[in-house]
């Protein structure tokens, strides 16, 4: 079943087409990898789908509904949540506070209730706290719950970003280079957790990554972008053998070499 599809999606910055006439499909419960050289348009794709940018033209259909033009928070409340490469945490807050903000969509505590307090609220707040702790536990971070984000090592920062996104109860989770900067073992553990999330919570994942082991090892399907266009699509095995893809990643070097030698 198709969870998300885009049709001729186009986004331009000034004179540059970041993504151009992009047709994408994301199937329910799959882990879809999105790869390509730097500047290929991967982050732009997530930025457009999540509502940060409004596309020049094209359609984005989520469960059959066109979501182009909706605000970021509206798109998030429909179940599409993304992580960020940079600035992915609320700095100056504790880990617990970060997760609690992440639970905003599921909080169901109205303004007046929150202000006036009462047993109803304390019960809600307690259950929220429990949920938050449970989520931190899932990621092995509950011992850090009172730690300030500025004191967290890099690996935990990225995990916290994903945990927050999960707190928002997504159906489609878009991860923007989540394991960048992680060591091989951290990456492996992280990807295993992602796999667990897909299986246990029935979440669909779109993964942007440069780490090929993570991508090839864990994704069901892969889409390859270059210069804002889709140049290949298929299973990891198919992609690894695809000539276009190889050229996209290595082609620039060869081209430079040939122009230097004048051929």
């Amino acid at each position: 079943m198709l969870l998300l599809e885009t049709e001729k999606l186009t986004m331009r910055f000034g004179g540059l087409y970041a993504i151009s006439e992009l047709d994408m499909e994301i199937k329910e419960s799959e882990i879809l990898g999105l790869i390509g050289p730097n500047g290929a348009g991967k982050s732009t794709f997530i930025n457009v789908v999540s509502g940060l940018y409004k596309p020049m033209h094209g359609m984005i259909r989520y469960r059959g509904e066109n979501i182009v033009g909706l605000r970021m928070d509206q798109i998030a409340s429909k179940g599409i949540v993304r992580t960020f490469q940079a600035s992915n945490l609320f700095m100056g807050f504790s880990v617990m506070q970060n997760i609690l903000v992440g639970f905003h969509l599921g909080a169901e505590i109205s303004f007046w209730r929150a202000m006036l307090g009462g047993s109803h609220v304390s019960n809600k707040e307690r259950s929220l706290n429990d949920k938050a702790l449970g989520l931190l536990n899932f990621f092995g971070m509950d011992h850090l719950k009172n730690e300030l984000t500025s004191n967290l090592p890099h690996g935990y920062r990225r995990i916290l970003g994903v945990a927050m996104a999960l707190a928002a109860d997504p159906k489609l989770l878009m991860l923007d280079e989540p394991v960048t900067g992680m060591m091989a073992e951290e990456t492996f553990n992280f990807m295993k957790i992602i796999k667990r999330i897909v299986q246990e919570k029935k979440i669909t994942i779109l993964l942007i990554e440069h780490d090929m082991k993570a991508v090839m090892g864990f994704c069901d399907r892969i889409v390859v972008l270059n210069f804002g266009k889709k140049i290949a699509e298929g299973t990891p095995q198919e992609i690894q053998l695809n000539a276009e893809v190889i050229k996209a990643y290595l082609g620039e070097k060869r081209d430079v070499q040939s122009s230097e030698s004048g051929s």
Binding site: L52, D73, Q74, V81, M91, G92, Q97, H104, L105, I109
Partner: protein, 323 residues
């Protein structure tokens, strides 16, 4: 800071002291000073609350005026009860704030700040030009003291004193409650990290309007109180400069903490008092001193006086912008 047992005791002591103060002294000057201080803190707290969502409101004085004119007109022209108007003034002010906020809180923060400046002027011009309704530049006089409530007569300085500090306590209670609850957490999340907040489903505009409406609610009530206190209001009581001053008090005190406005107002209101004790002091240079203080604070301690205190005692601080 409220978690600190010591802090709680200090605050309780201050509250009790303020409550019994008029029984200690009948000195009208002292009572009036605390009344002025209370009003300033109420308004400055509003500025701070809005700032907690990353916006700058330079129109608190205008909304104070909305409450003042509303109450005055209802009482003088329609004979409404002063106490009813006290609360209605808050709602009217809040309502207008909601409409304005809906229009202006949608895009960049700087637009909102400029719009609040323009709003100050717009309201002032309306009060000046529509003189049949608002009395024009001469304003409205003969505003009576509020009628008796629960058998208590109002009209003396002491009676106004109690209304003022109760309004102050109510405002502080609300602001403190917000700070310690989810509401405040979401506000602070928006302040420096709005994109991240939105990606988690937080409706930025709704939260910003919430803060603005609450701030203007209390500003409106303060305006009603002011009208009864002075028995006379005119457009010059609610100018742009007043709004700038409330912003200044908030910044100097420290925007991060609910106590910032308290500290800021107290310091900034007592500085002129202290300066006047110097012989040959000409109040004309006051704005220069204030301007200099504002510049120095932003330059060397952007978190204000509370920031200075906090540097002395570490601990979990309120969320700040990413440096």
């Amino acid at each position: 800071m409220l978690r600190d047992k010591r802090a709680k005791i200090i605050i309780l002591a201050i509250v009790v002291f303020l409550l019994i103060f008029p029984t200690i002294t009948a000195n009208k000057y002292y009572l009036r000073t605390i009344i002025t201080l209370s009003i300033a803190i109420v308004l400055t707290s509003g500025v701070r609350l809005v700032a907690q969502t990353g916006q700058l409101s330079i129109a608190q004085a205008a909304f104070m005026g909305v409450g003042a004119y509303f109450s005055t007109l209802m009482i003088l022209k329609l004979g409404w009860n002063s106490w009813v108007c006290f609360f209605l003034a808050g709602f009217v002010s809040a309502g207008i704030a909601g409409i304005v906020g809906f229009i202006t809180l949608r895009i960049k923060e700087i637009y909102f700040a400029i719009a609040t400046l323009a709003l100050n002027e717009l309201f002032r011009l309306i009060w000046v030009e529509w003189d049949t309704l608002f009395g024009g530049p001469a304003g409205i006089v003969n505003i009576p003291s509020p009628g008796p409530l629960l058998g208590v007569r109002f009209g003396s300085v002491a009676s106004f004193y109690y209304i003022a500090i109760l309004l102050l306590f109510a405002t502080m209670a609300v602001v403190i409650r917000i700070e310690g609850s989810r509401v405040g957490l979401i506000f602070s999340a928006i302040k420096g990290f709005d994109t991240l907040a939105a990606s988690l489903g937080i409706n930025l505009m709704k939260e910003k309007v919430k803060a603005f409406v609450i701030a203007c609610f209390f500003a409106g009530m303060a305006g009603d109180f002011f009208a009864h206190l002075q028995h006379f209001i005119s457009p010059v009581d609610f100018t742009l400069m007043d709004s700038v001053y409330y912003l200044m008090y908030a910044v100097v005190g420290g925007l991060q903490s609910v106590w910032g406005p308290v500290v800021g107002c107290t310091v900034m209101i007592f500085i002129p008092v202290a300066l006047r004790l110097i012989p040959n002091y000409d109040p004309v240079i006051e704005p220069i001193i204030f301007g200099a203080i504002l510049i120095l604070v932003m330059r060397f301690e952007p978190e204000g006086l509370i920031g200075l205190f906090q540097k002395a005692r570490p601990g979990i601080r309120r969320p700040q912008e990413d440096a």
